[in-house]
Amino acid sequence: MSKRIQQHASLWLSLGAVLLIGIWPMLTGNALDRETAFTVLRAVALASSLNILLGYTGYVSFGHVVFYGLGGYVGFYLISERGWSLWLAILAGGLAAGLLAYLLGLAILRLRGAYFALATIGVNEAVRAFINNFEPFGGPTGMTLNFKIYKLYGGPANALQLSFYIILGLTLLVILVSYWVRTSKFGLGLLAIREDEDAAEVMGVVAPNAKTWAYVLSAVIPGMVGALVFFKNGTIEPGLAFPLNTSIVMIVMIMLGGQGTVLGPILGAAGYETMRDFLLVSPLFKNLQLAISGVLLLIIVLFIPRGLVGWLRQRYPKVRRLLI
């Protein structure tokens, strides 16, 4: 293998994995497969985004879904009430999420460890409760899209198809960003912060700035994904936009695949969704889906805390350079 390919092996592997998920429903031509693939790509995009903060920087955000929900609401409002195009709404959703992360970052990134995790839960709940009372966004009942809007995109069927291409594009974008961060000087600073923030500062890493930008980067794409998902759903309400549980599922996916690696969250997200689908359709496990996921999570945390990719890296030092 030439050194150049080897250097970027994990990028090619990651992009390849995402493309595979994207191409599969196009080959089968089955709309149901496409919806499954959409869910998996959404999970990959969210988990890979969070990984920039959690895996590279070592800050555990338990309320990361707040960016998804906020982006969703902002995008939905602009499309539904202001007549913006989907494209601009997605950008606006990402921007809103990034801005919130920037402002929050200035405040709560001073907190460390569990205090930060708790604060992120508080922020998510505060925003959710606020939107519950915010009449322009429809309060507790949320908003519903006028079906006519899908005509602009060639009807509902075409809108679904378009949404799928966009989620594929967004997911590929996250992977590129994630890889760039992991292999950049900026990312090296983040890794140093993760390992020992005080020592990193003594070595010259400007931790407050680096953390804030990591937070912003990890928030923007979830905001865009939120805008897209709720456009596709046609309806939005606080309970759907800010489920605390989704934040934690994102973390579980990262842990499953291997935190702090580019490939890990992809494998983790795909693996988790596949398993969930399997459990949901199996008559035996249908009702126990949540409990089984819990047992699985417990096993990972207790016995393979580095996740699949981390375990591979540890077990086979030769692949360490390949799998980052």
């Binding site: 000087k185 020992d196 020592a199 990193a200 003594v202 070595m203 010259g204 890493v205």
Partner: protein
């Protein structure tokens, strides 16, 4: 003067850790900092490099008042240090550890330059063969060398060494002392805290003695070895007093 410390006082609650410490350090010297345990030596390092802000007094680094500036500001400006209790970035490779120093310290290297600098520095401190290992897998002596390598890779103007000799065996000490001299010969000014008396007496141009947070003596190694106040201060620590007087 590369560093001026003027009337620095640092308190922790009711505890007076440093009282009115004042000294100047000209460029190119090795300054030894000694004193019994708990005398405030590491606290002084923490004040100089911005980890603590002193209640009184000023720290002037390369002509600029840097009192109260953050550690990363000082690092970028040309300060680097090692920690008494090593702080390797465990899950990063040895090379990556050193690259952090090169990237974010005074050298401000890009990744490519940093990787190159890391390999050079690792060669210099004798860790080249460990470059691809995780830093967490090194033994203590190797971790001390890694701390040093990270600091040098930053290409600092001033280097603070906090007990780099502690826990090393005699041949390792001899090697480390040579390394310290070689660093100075690269034009880097050094302050070192040390308990290994023979080494510090041997390598320092000048020595400061701290006791209970106060500077009680300052001079050449010969002057310090005969200073009554110093010997008295060390009587609280008989082993050290003995070593000091025997110049061991």
């Amino acid at each position: 003067m590369i560093l001026q410390v003027q009337g620095v006082t640092k308190r922790f609650g009711g505890l007076q850790a440093l009282t009115q410490v004042t000294f100047d350090l000209p460029e190119g010297q090795i300054l030894g900092l000694i004193g019994p345990n708990g005398a405030g030596k590491t606290t002084l390092f923490n004040v100089i490099d911005g980890v603590y802000t002193p209640e009184e007094g000023r720290v002037i680094f390369q002509g600029e008042d840097v009192t109260g500036k953050k550690p990363y500001y000082l690092a970028r400006k040309g300060l680097a240090r090692t920690h008494q209790i090593v702080r390797p970035l465990n899950e990063l490779s040895v090379r990556e550890n050193v690259m952090v120093g090169a990237c974010f310290g005074h050298a401000n290297a890009n990744l490519k330059q940093a990787a190159q600098a890391a390999d050079e520095v690792l060669e210099f401190v004798g860790l080249a063969s460990k470059a691809d290992q995780l830093a967490g897998s090194l033994n203590v002596a190797q971790k001390k060398r890694l701390e040093l390598a990270r600091a040098i890779a930053a290409q600092p103007k001033l280097l603070l060494l906090d007990e780099v000799l502690a826990g090393l065996n005699p041949s390792e000490i001899a090697r480390m002392v040579e390394t310290v001299r070689a660093i100075r010969d690269r034009g880097i000014t050094i302050i070192m805290i040390e308990h290994v008396m023979s080494a510090i007496m041997n390598v320092s141009d000048r020595i400061l003695v701290l006791d209970f947070g106060k500077l009680i003596a300052e001079g050449t190694p010969e002057e310090i070895a005969q200073n009554e106040k110093v010997i008295h201060a060390y009587l609280g620590d008989p082993k050290l007093a003995e070593r000091l007087m025997q110049g061991e």
